[in-house]
Amino acid sequence: MNPTQLPAQKDLSERAYRVYSLATGVVIDHIPARKALQVVEVLGLATPGESILAVGINLDSKKMGRKDVIKIEHANLTDAGYHKIALIAPEATINILQDHKILKKFRVEIPADLRGLLVCPAGNCITNREPVESRFHYAHGRLTCHFCERRYTLEEVNLRV
């Protein structure tokens, strides 16, 4: 069956929450509900191109209750990309697919050292006053600015767009 065709009427309720079935590319699963569009934005996924980008928002999840999913055809994400995903969706799982087979599956992790990804909220931090790349240390759920030494929760710090 062509995955882009609508399912038969009798299958509709079973397939009501199925997102486009990806053959080759990257699936980002277990994104907290309604955060998928933030992931799309920070990764710059919605740029013009030939590849399909499918986004499922607020889907049922046994694990999370509700979740978002992103499927990117023919994609290759960098480590920085996975780190950005981890900052928005610390519980996300990544599936790398090739011809419908899962080549690799892993959980994202926030690394201990984050360079250039975040903006320090402190106005008087040197990273906001001079061309100094931001750097944060992550431990026990907290981010610490390497330069001004202030500590933040994940929610308090924005990704550099």
């Binding site: 008087n124 040197i126 001079e130 100094v132 330069f147 001004c148």
Partner: protein, 308 residues
């Protein structure tokens, strides 16, 4: 504890958070040795001071420390301010200065400036104060002063009084003392309490503390560390008027204090320590200021790989 100086060679002094307990003890040990036996260990070495904001005390203290060790100083006091006005980055200024000197001391109004500078150069950088962030040599001289007047650092009851919210010195000193099993009493107006993240770090280190808003709670301690409450910190001027005299220490308040209690202050003081305290045996703030010389000498020697 002895220190052969090699462990610190080439290292920058940016934040008290970079110091382990052993590091602190090593610095204090060298400071004590230099104070007892002054030596011109840094003859032929050059210190450049880059002060992007004025601080006469800190600059003079470093200049005196280096000169008494036999070294020389080139000072970019006015130049630092004009460099800032021209928009030169602190890293560029440091890269220029490292060509002329063996060690740099930087004072800058922006948080994190000293670390940014240190990571751009090969010579050691000592942070003389960066915005509201760190002033590690002040913390180390405070520790040296406490050790001097109490004979130890371990298991002291330390009161910190005044502006605990914005006070860079009390934050750093609280963190440095956490290695030494202290008990803290934090006395301040309610709007100027010790910040939650500092309290959290103390809790992580299993350090006990109490918070109070009465000066009286500070008196049954070993150390009272006084700080100035600034009018500018109070958006509501009436609130400032209510509290400004509530945290003033005078000789009468100290009448029943134990004889070994000592009063410290990072100076300059305004009215938070009354002049009559100066004549009591509890006053130690001027001796504390004097501790800046051996401590800064110790740091200069250690980062240049020299020990007495």
């Amino acid at each position: 504890m002895g220190c052969d100086g090699k462990a610190f060679a080439g290292r920058s002094v940016i934040s008290i958070r970079d110091f382990s307990k052993d590091d602190i003890l090593a610095v204090l040990d060298v400071a004590e040795r230099l104070e007892k036996n002054p030596q011109t260990l840094l003859a032929g070495k050059l210190l450049a001071t880059l002060f992007f904001e004025p601080s006469t005390r800190t600059r003079l203290s470093f200049e005196s420390a280096m000169t008494r060790l036999g070294g020389r100083v080139i000072s970019v006091a006015e130049g630092g301010a004009s460099s800032l006005a021209k928009g030169e980055t602190v890293r560029d200024a440091a890269r220029m200065a490292e060509k002329y000197a063996d060690v740099l001391v930087i004072r800058h109004p922006v948080d994190g400036a000293a670390r940014a500078a240190a990571e751009a150069v090969a010579v050691p950088v000592i942070n003389g104060g960066d915005g509201a962030n760190q002033h590690p040599t002040q913390t180390l001289l405070d520790l040296y002063a406490i050790q001097k007047c109490q004979g130890r650092l371990d298991r002291l009851t330390v009161a910190m009084v005044g502006d605990l919210k914005y006070g860079r010195t009390v934050h750093s000193l609280a963190l440095a003392l956490r290695f030494f099993s202290p008990k803290f009493i934090f006395v301040s107006p309610p709007s100027l309490r010790m910040p939650a993240d500092i309290l959290e770090e103390l809790e992580d280190a299993h350090v006990g503390y109490e918070e109070a808003d009465l000066l009286q709670k500070a008196l049954a301690t070993d150390i009272i560390y006084m700080t100035r409450i600034q009018k500018e910190r109070f958006p509501d001027k009436d609130e400032y008027e209510k509290v400004k005299d509530a945290f003033v220490l005078d000789a009468a308040a100290l009448a029943d204090a134990k004889p070994t209690l000592r009063v410290l202050h990072p100076l300059p003081r305004v009215n938070e320590i009354a002049a009559d305290v100066d004549r009591t045996p509890h006053a130690f703030y001027f001796e504390q200021a004097g501790c800046g010389i051996p401590v800064r000498q110790a740091l200069l020697c250690l980062v240049l790989g020299v020990a007495p």
